[in-house]
Amino acid sequence: MKHVIIGAGAAGITAAKVIRENRKDDEIVIISTDDAVYSRCMLHKFIGGSRNVAELSFIPPNFFEENNIRWRSNKTVTGVNIKEKRIVFNCGKCGKQSNESYDRLLLATGSQSFFPPIEGLRPGPAVCTLRDLSDAKKIRMKADNAKNIVIIGAGLVGLDAAYGLVEMGKTPTIVEMGQHILSANLDPRAAMTYQAKFEEAGCRFIFGNRVKSIEFDDFGTSGTIVFESGDKLPTDLLIVAAGVSPAIGLLKSSGIPYNRGVIVNEYLATEAEYVYAAGDITGLSESWPSAISQGEIAALNMCGIKSVYDDILERQNTVNFFDIPSLSVGRLNPEPGDVVHIREDQQRYQKVITQNNISVGVTLQGDISRSGFWQYLIKHKIPINNAQESLWKTSFADSYELDANGEYKWAK
């Protein structure tokens, strides 16, 4: 049987590995636009110069040989023919169109950067996003001589770019429509810690001022950002980090139904026979662990081992800039009826939101030691154990059980 996987990210690579673990002799092909396997979450370290391309990899160097996987890199899939069980792709080098047949197909293309509808904003020499290694390379190259680096969007990707640039010795200006940075990742209090650090490092933030238009010169190498307030900001490197959306372009005329992402059932199968999907393209979650888990489940189903994808999806993320770690799971801000518990000092900030004694959100900053149980409590809606005199003493201890193999399990 021949398995074709589109995408060499977390979901695709995991799927290939799991297929190999279960089907020793099946043929496995990975097709990717990327010509390197790397972790997107580490691209800022490439910009900052602390890692080279090889150091961005999340797989062992001999991964493809050892697992007998054929990797066709630098090839961009443009279409899927589900009747003929073939995919069509362009060769990145020669531009030639070619195709590859499959018995089982996994769509694991991930997501792509989103360009907000701003007048005058279009790809050009001074405009970048930060999604792929090629983007990071472009930023690193352009930033060297750029005087006025502007980042649109103060989410995790925008700040990753900013952090990499700070490490290069640059001081970008970050433009954010909202009122604080990392609004999808942290509450205002925790976000402020990082904002202050970025400002200390020379960065400038512009909040709540919508970009009306961008005017580039004829060469597209420098331009002016015009805000609705009338303020203007010159730029010779503009990084657009306004969000991402599932990379579903290749499905346009395939007949495989999609909404925001491709539609999958509990086996991660699309509505087209033999076609599965995993990772960001499903639109189920944008997290790394979800991509890994979906890659694994999809692969098992591709091997004929019926497996249900039953991850409990809960917003979660970690942030680590300037050696200040943070994590947040679930709600960032309370809803009516919630109880908020906060404790803090100069170095640490911890917030737990509960609803009827069940934690629905946690934000930890500064000290995140041995705190993983919160994520489990929130996902599984386990009530805070009242045996402890304080909510802050919550731990696995009050649900401590071991199974016959000596693994921990949460007592009911």
Binding site: R343, R348, S390
Partner: protein
């Protein structure tokens, strides 16, 4: 619900204090409890032995004996005896210093404030002299001669001080102490590597240490201080952080040796001292009471007006008092002087002065206090600290903390005088059942269990609700007074009968005898009441509790309580539960020896019920209703 970090174990019976601590920008003992929460079970049970290079040995089912062959019983008894010996040593140091101060004062014809106390003491000890100074010197010599005796010579004042039925029993049991210092010495030797292995012998030795600690370290220290510093007088006084007045140069005192600052304290209101203070912009000098020496100032407060406004707090309140920023110097002469005050003093530029090197803090300046010049030098240092820090260090006061009407100045003498120079009214109230019995709630505060002062305060509330009159001495007093239980209004919290008594007499249901040293005063009260009734002390409807005992000294106090034949309640076990023999002797067999026994319970309501049952049984045995 925002709280400062790491303060999940900041619980205190004193809620305003708890909130204040939670918001402090400085680390205190409260903050460190959480990171020390996982206790070693071997240590808790007293079965870790570090007496030799083969150790540390711990007792487990697979290793029931140490390498040397010591059983859990031997290891526990050795550790326990060492602790009691050390605790006794502390109190004997205190009485030794106090007696030496009295001798020095007498020899130099210095001021003796409590002449009546001197006469009573001379009568008790059978000492005569031509004048007060001669009498005082002879008293001091008698005490010093006794505590310096070798182990094999019994101390002579024991018989004069102790209640005779007790003395006879102690003699019969062979636990009459030799020289108090030698008893400590012997306890240390006995419990050293591969010497004594007899748990019962070592526990009996602890009783000998208890007797010398109680009669000398506690009782005599009070009585000697009464001669030098004057006697307590019953009055109402302010307590808590409210006593701190930032307009003055404030000196926080920690320790147990009030007589060391007898000269200094009278100097504080002198013209020259006030001028010194005025010159740097302060109104004068004030001593802010903290720990037991603060309690001692407070019980003698009628004689300390002008330089002492009240007791601010007990052992674990000391860091908090400093954190107000209004203290300019800490004057240290003994425990409880927590190492935790050091970084706070450093951060807030508070001068640390140590006047007895046994309590030397790392950053403290040791200053001898032998002459008026020495006292001047100390005041100069403190004034310089005031000048350097005020205006540069933020104030963080808690002016509403505590209360203004805590009854203080209670002693065996002042209480008896209050009752009409006889114990008869109290005896009648007990006999009629208006007062069900007496409970001495003494000892320290610790931060274990429910938190700072929590068990002391809650147990006291439970006891008074059962019409049991509570008498306190030690850091327990500090917590209980700050929580308002020593104010006349606290009668509301007493049971109906005790409440009626309190309202009639205008007293609170909890009588504050002051420092832990005053456990000795409680012993005199017990002795005199027993004498009046012609019964032995264990027959009295009297129980002893050190609900939040903290330190080795408390264990020595506890040993005194057991020697007196009292039921002794503790909130936490004294690191002995790993030994079946120690547990059996302390909780049960002791009854047939001295009449006393240990009971351990960390729950206020349960403990109060247990103590009430004991009192009811004793009443029954005395044919009281």
């Amino acid at each position: 619900m925002t709280q400062r970090f790491s303060c999940t174990t900041c619980q205190s019976a004193d809620k305003p204090l708890e909130r204040f601590v939670a918001d402090l920008p400085l680390e205190t003992s409260f903050h460190r409890v959480e990171s020390q929460e996982v206790k070693c079970g071997f240590g808790l049970q007293g079965v870790c032995c570090r007496l030799c290079a083969n150790g540390p040995c711990r007792i487990t089912p697979d290793s029931p004996k140490g390498v040397c062959g010591a059983s859990a019983d031997t290891i526990v008894a050795r550790n326990f005896l060492r602790a009691v010996a050390a605790g006794s040593g502390c109190y004997i140091h205190v009485v030794e210093g106090t007696a030496r101060n009295l001798k020095k004062t007498a020899k130099s014809k210095g001021r003796l404030v409590g002449l009546k106390a001197l006469d009573r003491l001379c009568a008790m000890l059978g000492i005569e002299g031509a004048d007060a100074h001669e009498k005082a010197e002879k008293v001091a010599d008698a005490v010093l001669t006794d505590i310096y005796k070798p182990l094999f010579e019994k101390m002579e004042l024991t018989q004069k001080m102790a209640y005779q039925p007790r003395y006879k029993l102690w003699d019969k049991l062979g636990i009459l102490p030799g020289g108090a210092k030698s008893e400590v010495f012997s306890g240390v030797v006995k419990s050293s590597t591969n010497l004594n292995s007899d748990p019962v012998d070592m526990l009996l030795h602890a009783l000998r240490l208890g007797i010398s600690t109680g009669l000398y370290g506690l009782t005599l220290t009070n009585l000697l201080n009464d001669v030098m510093l004057g006697e307590p007088e019953i009055r109402l006084a302010p307590v808590g952080l409210r006593v701190i007045n930032p307009d003055y140069i404030n000196i926080m005192v920690t320790g147990h040796q009030h007589s060391l600052i007898a000269g200094l304290q009278s100097r504080l209101t002198s013209e020259s001292a006030i001028k010194m203070a005025n010159d740097v912009g302060a109104k004068g000098f004030k001593i802010v009471g903290c720990t037991c020496v603060g309690q001692d100032l407070q019980v003698r407060g009628s004689l300390c007006t002008g330089f002492f406004d009240g007791h601010a707090g007990n052992n674990f309140t000391s860091e908090v008092i400093l954190a107000t920023g209004a203290i300019d110097a800490v004057l240290t002469e003994f425990n409880c002087t927590l190492p935790g005050i050091e970084p706070i003093c450093d951060a807030l530029l508070i001068k640390q002065i140590c006047i007895d090197p046994v309590a030397k803090k790392a950053n403290a300046q040791v200053m001898n206090i032998a002459s008026p010049e020495d006292e001047d030098a100390i005041l100069k240092e403190i004034t310089a600290a005031y000048k350097a820090r005020r205006g540069n260090v933020p104030l963080n006061l808690l002016p509403n903390h505590g209360n203004d009407n805590t009854l203080t100045g209670v002693s065996e003498t002042s209480l008896k005088a209050f009752l009409g120079d006889t114990w008869q009214p109290l005896i009648e109230l007990i006999a009629s059942g208006q007062i069900k019995g007496l409970a001495a709630v003494v000892g320290c505060s610790n931060l274990m269990g429910a938190g700072h002062d929590v068990l002391s305060v809650e147990l006291t509330k439970e006891l008074i609700a059962k019409d049991i009159l509570v008498l306190t001495a030690g850091c327990s007093s500090g917590g209980i007074e700050n929580c308002g239980l020593m104010s006349p209004e606290a009668a509301e919290l007493a049971g109906p009968k005790l409440k009626a008594v309190c309202e009639k007499l205008g007293i609170p249901p909890v009588l504050n005898f002051g420092p832990c040293l005053a456990i000795g005063r409680l012993e005199i009260v017990a002795t005199e009441i027993a004498e009046a009734l012609n019964i032995d002390i264990p027959q009295l409807p009297l129980v002893l509790s050190a609900p939040q005992w903290l330190e080795e000294q408390a264990l020595a106090d506890g040993a005194f309580g057991l020697a007196l034949g009292l039921p002794l309640h503790l909130g936490l076990p004294p690191f002995v539960t790993g030994s079946p023999v120690a547990v059996q002797v302390l909780t049960s067999d002791m009854k047939s020896l001295t009449g006393g026994h240990v009971l351990i319970n960390g729950d206020a309501a349960e403990s109060a019920t247990m103590l009430e049952e004991i009192i009811l049984q004793k009443r029954k045995d005395l044919n009281l209703p």
